[in-house]
Amino acid sequence: MTDLSFLFTQFLGGLTTAMFLFLIASGLSLVFGVMRVLNFAHGSFYMLGAYLAWQAVQWLTPLLESFWLAALFAALVVAVLGGLVERLLLRHMYGKEELYQLLLTYALVLILGDAAKAIWGTQQLSVSRPPILDGAIEMFGTVLPLYNLFIMLAGVAIAVIGWLILARSSAGRLVRAAALDREMLGALGANVGALYTGMFMASSFLAGLSGALVTPIQSIVPGMDVEVIVEAFIVVVIGGLGSFWGTFWGSLIYGQVLSFGILIMPSFSLFSVFALMAVILIVRPWGLFGKPMR
C-alpha cells in the first residue's frame, strides 16, 4: 500500500511537470505550426514573465498583495514585447532561409538573458504563493499542494480553451487556413501580417504567463530561459512540432518519463527523456502526432 501511494506521488509530480510544460510548449508549437518559425527566444519570454511578475509584486506590495494581478501584468508586457519582436525583427525573416530565423531568435536569447542580469542581478528571487492556494489536499495518502493542483487545472483549461478556439471559432479557422496556405488566404482578403502578429503575441502571452506562474514554486535565476526551452523543445519534438494535441500528449509523456525515470536512474534525471526523444526521432521523426513535412 505504501508502494502504491508512493507511485501515486510520483505520478502527480509528473502530472504537475507535464501541465506546466504544456503551458510553455503550447505557444512554441502554435507559432511553429502556423508561422513555421522556431522561436528559441520563447524560453526568454518565459524568463521575462517570471522577473516581471516578481517586479510587479514588489511594486504592488505596499498597496495590495495580488499575485494574480502581477502575473497578468507580466504576461501582458511579454505579449507586447513579442508583438514588437514580430513586427520589427522577425517579419523581415519570413520567406528566407530558416537559419536566419534561428540566428535571430538565438540572438534574442543572448540579449534578453544579459538584459535580465543587468536589471535584476544574478541572485535568486522568489515570490510567495498566493494565500488562497497556500494549503494542500490529501489524495490517496499523498499530499498535493493546492498550487500544484491549480497548475494542473490551468494546463487542462488552456488545452481545452486552445482547442476550442482552433477547432470551433472563426479566428481558429483563419489560423488553420494560414498554416495551410498563407498566400492564398491573403489573396482572399485576410491580413495575414496582422494575423501573424496576433499569433506571436498570444504565444508570447502564454510564455510570459507560464513564467509568472512558476515563481511561487521555483526560484527565479539567470539560466532558467535556456533550461526551459530545452525541455519545451523535447516536448514538442515528442508530440510533433506544430501539433496542438501532440504538444499536450508530449507534455504528459515527458512528465511521467521524467518522474519515473528518476526512480530507475536517480543520478541521470534527464537521461530518460533524452533517450525517449532519441527513440521517437528514429522511429517517427515527425513526432507522435505530427505529420511528415511536405
Partner: protein
C-alpha cells in the same frame, strides 16, 4: 466609359527571369474578357500582378479609376477583385463549409453572395459541407474555389484556367455555371489555353505570347477567322 480594371504597360519578373514585357489590357463592367495563350506565356503572372501577389516591376494596375499597383493582396481582394487560382489551392484540412467561412471573413465584403447562395449555385457542395477539402474530386474542388472567391462578393472575378485537368463533362457543367455568373452581370477576366471554354464565354480576347499581347479583338471575330486562330495558337 472608363474600364473597371486596366493594366498599363505592366512588366513583371520572378527574380531574374522576366515574364511580362509590357502588358496593356482593359476589362469593362459586365464584360467577360479572355486571356488566351499557351502554357508559360504569362497569363497566370498577369493575374498575379493584378492581385499584388507578384508586384509589377513597371507599369500600372488601375481598378475603378484608382491606382492599385503595389497594393498588398489582401487590400486588392477587399477592394473587390476576386482570384480563383489555377492550382485551386483549397485549404485541404478544412471542411468545405470552413473553406467558405474563412473566405467570407477574410474578404469582409457582405453582399449577394453568402455561403447559402453559393451552395445554391453549386448544389453539389451542399452535400459535402463537412467533407475535408483535400478529399474532394478535381471538379468539386474547382467549384469550391470559385464558390470560395464568390463569398467575398468580388466586382471582378479573375478565373485562372478553370477547365484545367477536368473531365469534359465536368468542364461543360462548369462552363454553364460561369455562364450563369456572367449573365448575372459579374465582370470576369478568364485565362485559358483551350478555345472551347474561352470562346464560348468571352466578349473580347487578348492573345498573349512571350509576355506580350500578340492580338486583341472581339471573340466573335476570332471565332469566325479560323486561319487567324490557327496562326495565333498553333503549337
Amino acid at each position: 466609359m472608363t474600364a473597371l480594371l486596366e493594366l498599363q504597360d505592366v512588366h513583371a519578373a520572378y527574380g531574374l527571369s522576366r515574364v511580362l514585357f509590357g502588358i496593356s489590357l482593359e476589362v469593362n463592367q459586365g464584360e467577360c474578357v479572355c486571356l488566351l495563350g499557351r502554357n508559360g506565356v504569362g497569363k497566370t503572372t498577369t493575374m498575379r500582378t493584378v492581385m499584388g501577389l507578384t508586384p509589377p516591376s513597371a507599369g500600372h494596375v488601375r481598378f475603378k479609376t484608382g491606382n492599385i499597383t503595389g497594393w498588398a493582396p489582401y487590400r486588392v481582394a477587399r477592394a473587390g477583385i476576386g482570384f480563383v487560382p489555377e492550382d485551386r489551392r483549397i485549404f485541404s484540412e478544412l471542411s468545405v463549409w470552413e473553406n467558405l467561412d474563412v473566405a467570407r471573413r477574410a474578404a469582409q465584403r457582405p453582399g449577394h453572395w453568402t455561403i447559402d447562395s453559393v451552395i445554391e449555385l453549386f448544389p453539389v457542395l451542399g452535400g459535402l459541407r463537412d467533407r475535408q477539402g483535400g478529399f474532394l474530386s478535381g471538379g468539386e474542388q474547382q467549384m469550391l474555389t470559385i464558390a470560395r472567391t464568390l463569398v467575398g462578393n468580388p466586382e471582378v472575378l479573375l478565373l485562372d484556367e478553370p477547365s484545367e485537368g477536368l473531365a469534359p463533362l465536368v468542364v461543360e457543367a462548369l462552363l454553364a455555371k460561369v455562364g450563369e455568373l456572367k449573365a448575372q452581370g459579374l465582370t470576369i477576366l478568364l485565362a485559358e489555353q483551350g478555345i472551347e471554354f474561352s470562346l464560348a464565354l468571352a466578349d473580347r480576347v487578348y492573345v498573349l505570347e512571350k509576355g506580350t499581347v500578340r492580338y486583341s479583338g472581339s471573340a466573335a471575330a476570332l471565332k469566325a477567322d479560323r486561319a487567324l486562330l490557327d496562326r495565333l495558337l498553333a503549337v
